[in-house]
Each structure stands twice: as C-alpha cells, then as structure tokens.
C-alpha cells in the first residue's frame, strides 16, 4: 500500500507493509500476563543484591528554607548504619544537571539533593544507608538539620511579581520560560468577528496518575570496573543517562540500565534520574549496592506532578454562523521548584494548537514559572491535555453564551474528514481522522436523545442532569526538534527507536527493542508483527522483557513515553523483521536451489510457493548459517548474519525557532468522549450516569490492548476531574500526601465505560497505526462540560478542571447570588 496522491507534499511517501494482518489486528492474549498473574513479575522492589544496603531520605519539612547545618553523627553512630550522604557532599560530587531551558533559567543549578537550600516540601536533604530499611529510617530520625525558613511562594502567577521570593538566585527571577506563539492573524479575527467571547480565567489543576508502584532502584557502583548498574523503574533510561552521565562524570559505556516489569509509569517515572544520581553517589561512597523504595507519601510529595496551568484573558472571535476563528490567551504554567523535563511542556502543547478544530488564528502568550512545589514531570497527556481542555471549555462556553447547539457547533468547527491530511496554523500535519463520525457514535453510546429527555424530566427534582462532550487528540511520535523552539541551542531533532530481530542458533526468533514498557504489552504486539512478517506463530517469537541497555539495542530516544510505540517501536521491529526475512529467503532459496521470488515463508518454514512439500524449517536455516556454513557459497555466507538491527526514523525536519512552525508530531489519534451526570442540587455531588469513549488510532495491532488504554486513560481523567488534586497551603505544605487524602479513583468512582471505535489508517506510518494511550485527558473536558450543562441559568462558568462537591455546590449557588459569571460577549 502506498500513500494516496496529494499527501506527498507533507511527508515523503511511506511504503506500508502488506504482510500484516494474520496476527496483527487480532486481540492476541498477552505474553506478559502469565508471569504477572502468578506473581512472578520482576518489579524493582523485588530485586536484591548481595551486601545491599537500604536507603532512607531525610526530607525537608519546609517548602523553602536555607540549610544552616546538618549533623549526621548520631545517625552514623547507630549500629548497622553504613553511610550517609548530605547535600553538602553532593555539591562537591555532582555537577548541576544539564538544563534544557535557555538562559537565564538555563543557569539553574539543580542537584540530586538539596544543596544549601530546600525549595519544596519533601525535597531530599540527606540520604542514610543501613542494613535494613527500618534501621535506615530509625537513623534518618537521628539526623539533625537546622533550617532557616524562607518566604514561600505557591501561586504560579504571583511568583513572577517583583516582591515574590526568588527560588534560584542564579536565575534572578521565577520565570522559567516565556514566549509568544502567534499563528494566523488573531487581531484581524477579533476586529472582524461578529462576536467576541471573553473569558476571564480558566485553571487546569495539579494532579498525577500516581502509578501504583512507586519509584525505586537498586544501584551498584562497581569499584572494579567503574560501571554503575541502575536497576530501576525509570521509564526513559536513555534520557536519564543524558542527565546522570555528565552530572557525575560517567560515560554511557559506564552506565548499565535495566528494568523488567514496571508497575505503571504514565510519564511520572521519567524524571527519577535525580534519585538515581543520589543512589549512585551513595553506592560509590559506601562501596555497596544501595536499594531504595519510595514510600507513597514520598511519591506524592516529591516524585513528580503533572503541570498546573492557568489561562487568563481569553478572547474568542466567533462568526454569526458559529464559525470560531481561533482564540487569544495568556497561559501561566507552574513547573514547581525545578526544571527536570521542563521547559519542554512550554512547546509540547503546540502539537495540538487548534485541537480538533479548524481554528486559523491563535495567539498564546506562554509563561512557565517556578514555585515552592514539587517539580512537575510528564504526566499522561503531557502539556497537551491542559491546552485541549482549554479548547473544549472555549467551545462549550461559546455555544452556551451565543446559544449554539454544542453538538452542531462542534460538527461545524471540527476539521472535516475530507480535509486530511490537514495542516494546522503552526505547520503540524494531522494525518487522518473523522471527528464528526466519532461524535455521532459517542452520542449514540450514551443515548443522547434519551439523556435530553431525562434532563427535561429531572427539572425541579433536586437532581440536575447534565450532558458533556469532550474531543481530544493524542498526538504521537514527537519530533524532538520542537525543543529548538524553546531553546535554539538544543542539539535534538527527529525521533527513532531501535530493534533487533534474530533467527537464533536453534531456530528461535528473538526480538529486542529499546523500549521500557509499563503494561502496554510490547512483548505481545512486537511478536504479532514479527510473526506476520516471518510467516510464523507469535508463540515462536520471543520478545525480551523490559529494558536492558547491555542486552538490547537502543537509540538516544529509547524508552516508553509519548504515545509512539505502535509507530516507532513496531516500526523498528518491522524493519528488522523484514531484513531478517530477506536473509532467510536468500539462504532458503540457495538451499532449495530456487529463485528468491519462488520462496514463501509459512508456519515457520521456508518453502517453494509452487511446491510446499519442498520446505526447510527455520532451524535448518539457522543450523546452516551458524554451524554448517561451509555448505553455503562464500558471498552468501559473508552477507547474512540472521541478526538484524533496524532503526525506525520518522521523516521529520527541524522546526523553525523564529516562526515556531514545524511538524511536531507524526500521528494524531483522537478520542471523543461523552457523559451524562447527575448533580445533587443540595450537595453539589456529581454522579456519572453514563460514560462513553470513541477512539481512532489508525490501524490497530491489538484491539484489546488499545481498548484497555482507552479505559485506563479515561479512569485517570475521571479521577482527576472529580477527586484527585494536589493542594498546597500557603506554607507550601502538600495537604494530600497520602492516599487517604489524595483520593485515587476506586472501582466505585470509575463508571462502566462504553467504548466505540473507528479506523482511519495513518498514511505516514509503516503499519498505518498511530501512537495512542494518553487519551488527551478527554474526561477532564467531558466532565466539566457535563457539570456546566447541569447548572442553572445565570451560573458562573465551570472555570476549573477539578470540580469536587464543594466547588460544584458553589457553582450551583452562583446563579442565585448573581454577580460576574467569568465570561462576557461583545457583539457587533
């Protein structure tokens, strides 16, 4: 299959494989499941090394404090304590971590533990190593730290006011990054629109997907070889290496990373490199392997949070027929105390500038700031879900204020099916999709008509019915060149993943990939596509579990993140499998005395298409190449290895720093969600009566796995919309640092999720698939939309992405109280 005409203007033509379809496309049960179901998984806390010590971190109770003195003598005197490591020592042993921000924020000195100053509650100040975890904690309690508390700033906007305390003196302010993204001509649009809808403020709250397995590692600095072994659950090891190596003077050849099973990541486990660094230094100092398992409160207070973003002065030009021309907004993104993946979030959202819509004129004045809160890191839907939530809020508010039907307004403004591939105002290419069809399907799934009736009948019953819609994009396969938009000096562009597919000594097919899965079923899907290409059963394909730098292949972008495995990971596997297929065919043809064109691969045999009886099993091919090679002609023997490595490279160019334009991601999976909620008029409690999600992610390799990802992302979004929010008090104290107060959604909170699907193969990927899994935070938009729909006339707009009972109660009351509603319309 080749790409239809007209699309080559966007990307060079892509050859798509015609071998897929026997195994890929089917819901093959997962290879991973047996070990996980039997408790045989190898998670990081299950690992053990001879002579290992256990680590406990002493953490700052202050959100902002100068460290006056640290006394570890009483802790070190405790029998069974091996060593301690203080921030002071770290200051000497570590170079500050590499910063992606341009100056002045790029001057930030970030270390693996607090050096001189603690900047958020829970920041590690001292590490204690002891013979047992209990003892390490006992000893940690004996460490005496004298702090001089400093003024605290927790507000992501107030933090840039001149009177705010500066977190990092070397930067001189709390601004991490500022830039204006200006596409089309928003001023013209505002002058010429029939209506301008002005929204004062929208706030996207701080939360985390909180993987059930917390962060942990077993690290050993081998004094003999100087190699540091990191057995961890970091989900982007090669990214971690880029920070750890220069910081403590290790070449990549002296760092070994591995993980087998990871208990969920969702992006939160990308920035654990700071802890890995501290553990490496402690291991070197103690001359022992060191093991650390984060407690839940440590995870909630001091691993990573999702980005909090506030949108101010939103102006939306709308024509009288409902056409929305675009919007203008000032965005303030709160990165917390350090930049550990940031300021990439300041550009990642630009992958989806107009959301699912045909907006032509968009201006975003974007400021990322620093506060005395836990540093942020990528969290499922990273940086796009905040922006997509803003867009869906805009569409709902415009519909309500100008009396358009919310469904019709979406259908009108959506990018239309015939417009794909569609170029956005900033030069991104939406590969394929059919949003109106998805909207239609999702409304059927929640019985939209029935819900409208129910809404009418419910009037005056004390239970208000609301219907919500949320459309999102799941942009996949990053062009890391977008990092140049925030810092032109950064040496990154493109993307890629590597795989090796091998026909092994006794006929086994083995696959290794550079990815570090956390439940996405890579072993299964990689086996499916390999089986298709080599004409055998997936059962014959062994895919190495987890990440292992020494044993597997990798590239600089290796890891599992950002909705891309189906394209980059499987693209690499397919390329390697095709190479291996070519070699098997060559050898088979030679052994059968036939032309390569007469050969077919089936059931693990190389055979003559015309005469299936004439067949050689894979083991025959392997045995010949590896152990009977003299039977092969020299030039053939020299040219085959049966050990094929392939690096998949998406066809990216470098985006433009000045215009901030470029192709930022390769694929655009999409989801449209809808919900029917019931709001208790007396309490503000929200109950979800019906929920549905329709997804489109190109050609699916394993539909059940895809549906599972849709369920999971939806569960996270519903939890965040109603129950999960990190709240800090004015002192910078996190008020939900346990699962008792950070209410992770339970089986009673997440309703049944009806799912539907459509398929629009991507013309730009080797298998027609699109990366997916993040879901774009659709439920946050959907629930906000549904709550707003349930509110009485004259109520304030739904202005926050988190709506607990009290906030909904206040919104319900706002109608009666009168007063500003947070929105105004100027009509010409």
């Amino acid at each position: 299959m080749s790409t239809p005409p007209g699309e080559t203007t966007f990307y060079p033509e892509v050859e798509q494989s015609d071998r897929l379809g026997v195994w890929s496309g089917k819901s093959v049960p997962r290879k991973e499941d047996k070990r996980l179901l039997k408790g045989q998984g190898a998670f990081v806390d299950d690992l053990w090394m001879h002579r290992q010590g256990h680590v406990h971190f002493v953490r700052s109770p202050h959100a902002h404090a100068r460290i006056v003195s640290i006394d570890v003598s009483r802790a070190e005197a405790l029998p069974g304590v091996y060593a301690t490591l203080t921030g002071e020592e770290v200051g000497e042993l570590q170079q500050p971590f590499f910063q992606m921000a341009p100056e002045p924020a790029g001057l930030m000195k970030d270390y693996c533990m607090a050096v001189g100053k603690a900047r958020y509650m829970g920041e590690p100040v001292v590490a204690v190593l002891a013979e047992s975890a209990e003892l390490a904690r006992d000893a940690a309690a004996l460490v005496e730290v004298v702090y001089e508390p400093l003024e605290v700033v927790v507000d992501g906007i107030a933090t840039i006011e001149p009177q705010a305390p500066v977190l990092h003196e070397e930067i001189g302010s709390n601004v991490a990054w500022h830039g204006v993204y200006d596409y089309g001509d928003v001023d013209w649009a505002l002058e010429n629109a029939d209506h301008v809808v002005r929204i004062d403020r929208l706030h996207f709250h701080r939360f985390s997907s909180t993987p059930l397995e917390t962060t942990g590692a077993l690290v050993n600095w081998d004094p003999g070889t100087g190699v540091v072994e990191f057995r961890s659950n970091n989900q982007m090891p090669m990214f971690a290496a880029m920070f750890i190596g220069p910081a403590i003077g290790l070449g990549i050849d002296h760092m070994q990373f591995s993980s087998q099973d990871i208990g969920g990541g969702f992006g939160i486990k990308i920035t654990s490199y700071t802890y890995l660094t501290a553990l490496a230094l402690l291991s070197r100092k103690a001359g022992r392997p060191v093991k650390w398992s984060e407690s839940r409160w440590e995870h909630l207070a001091a691993s990573a949070h999702g980005n909090e973003r506030t949108f101010l002065d939103i102006e939306v030009p709308v024509m009288s027929d409902g056409t929305i021309l675009g919007f203008k907004v000032r965005a303030f993104d709160d990165a917390g105390a350090y930049l550990r993946y940031e300021p990439l979030g300041a550009v990642i959202w630009a992958q989806v500038v107009p959301g699912n819509y045909r907006f032509k004129h968009v201006r975003v004045d974007y400021t990322e700031t620093l506060t005395n809160k836990c540093p942020v890191g990528p969290n499922r839907g990273y940086s796009r879900l905040q922006h997509l939530w803003l867009i869906e809020r805009i569409v709902d508010i415009v519909a309500k204020e100008l009396n358009f039907d919310r469904v019709a307004l979406r259908a009108l403004n959506y990018v239309q099916p015939e417009e794909f591939p569609y170029e956005t105002p900033n030069g991104c290419i939406y590969d394929s999709g059919d949003y109106p069809a998805m909207l239609e399907q999702v409304l059927e799934l929640i019985d939209y008509e029935g819900a409208l009736k129910r809404k009418l009948e419910s009037a005056g019953s004390g239970k208000r019915i609301g219907i919500g819609i949320g459309s999102t994009l799941d942009s996949g396969t990053n062009n890391f060149g977008q990092s140049r938009i925030i810092n032109s000096a950064l040496p990154f562009s493109g993307n890629g993943e590597a795989a090796v597919v091998r026909l092994d000594l006794y006929g086994e097919i083995t696959v290794t990939i550079g990815t570090s899965p956390q439940g996405q079923g890579h072993e299964t899907t990689a086996a499916q596509v390999t089986a298709d290409i080599l004409g055998c059963s997936p059962d014959l394909v062994h895919v190495a579990a987890g990440y292992n730098k020494a044993a597997n292949t990798y590239v600089g972008f290796s890891g599992t993140y950002a909705s891309q495995f189906a394209v980059t990971g499987l693209g690499a596997v397919m390329g390697a499998a095709e190479q291996l297929r070519g070699e098997i065919v060559k050898v088979g043809a030679c052994m059968l005395g036939a032309e390569e064109s007469d050969i077919e691969l089936a059931d693990g045999f190389v055979r003559l298409a015309a005469n299936p009886e004439a067949a050689i099993p894979f083991i025959g091919i392997a045995a010949t190449v590896f152990a009977n090679v003299a039977e092969l002609p020299g030039e053939l023997a020299d040219s085959v290895t049966l050990n094929c490595r392939y690096v998949y490279r998406p066809p990216f160019t470098v985006p433009d720093h000045e215009t901030k334009r470029g192709k930022l991601t390769l694929t655009y999976a999409s989801q449209v969600h809808a919900a029917v909620v019931e709001v208790d008029d007396e309490t503000g409690q929200v109950t979800i009566l019906a929920y549905a999600a329709v997804d489109e992610c190109g050609r699916k390799v394993n539909p059940k796995i895809v549906e599972g990802q849709v369920h999971g992302a939806t569960g996270h979004g519903i939890g965040a919309a109603l129950y999960e929010s990190f709240e800090y008090d004015a002192d910078g104290q996190l008020l939900n640092s346990t699962f008792a107060d950070y209410h992770a959604a339970t089986s009673l909170d997440v309703p049944h999720i009806a799912t539907g699907e459509i398929e629009c193969p991507s013309p730009f990927t080797p298998n027609g698939a699109k990366g997916m899994g993040e879901g774009g935070g659709a439920p946050l938009s959907t629930i906000a939309s549904a709550i707003e729909d349930a509110l009485p006339e004259g109520a304030h707009i739904v202005f926050d992405s988190h709506n607990n009972s009290e906030r909904v109660y206040d919104l319900l009351r706002s109608a009666a109280l009168g007063g500003p509603r947070g929105v105004e319309v100027i009509s010409r």
Partner: protein
Amino acid sequence: MIVSGEMSVAVGREELWAVLSDPQRLAQALPGVSDVTIEDEQHFSAVAHPFTALGETPVALEFEIVEVRAGEFVAIAATGSAGENLLTLTLSLELASTADGTTASWRAEVGLRGVLASLLQRGLAELLREQVDAVLCAAAAISTADRG
C-alpha cells in the same frame, strides 16, 4: 491556619495575666508536659505528651513570650518538633474583666510542616482549641491557688 476562641474563667484579670506571662507558672499550666526548662523570663522549653488511643506523639516545644501588656495582653510563640514534623504557633491572648472573672479572647496562627500537615489537617484547629482551653483553666486554677 488561623484559629480563635474565647473563654471565661472565674479569676481576676491581673492574676490570670500574672500566670500567663510568667514562664515558670505558665509551664505548670501546660497539660501533660515533661522536661520543663526555664531559660529566662521570656524563654522556656517542655515536652508535651498528648494521650490518645493511638499512642503518644511527644512534641518538643520551645516557648517564647514575645509581647506583654501588663494585665491585659500576652503573646506567646512556640515551635515544636515531632519526629519528621514541625509545629509553629503564635498565640495572643487579650484579657478583659467581667462581672465574675475574666474573659480571655485568643487568636492563634498555627502551622504544621511534614506529613502531619496532611494527616492532621482536620484535627489541628480542634486540637488547638482543646489545648488553649486546658491551659486557661489550669492557669486560672494556679492563680487561685497562689492567691489563697
């Protein structure tokens, strides 16, 4: 967190003030404390042992009498540490004479730092009210005893 309250006790304003502004006697009025050390007429320390079904949480407290206005006003600052957690408290008491004794109006700014900030957020205000009331009762009793 700001917490305030009011309490009337059946002792004279002057006597009550005399106890509240004197480290020696104020320390005696603190419920269930041990290891009281008087440093000077502004500073003293003690360890509190609140008894609950869940065990004790010994809190090492440092007190400072930061401001006094003879007979009518006392402001006390305290910092405490309990394991990995810190407590900060500034308490000001305004005393007014009434027909049958004294009314103490108090206002406190209290903060917790560490995991207890989360675990104890529902209890902190209540806990403080209980403690202040207990101190005022005890102080009243002490002043009565000292007088009689």
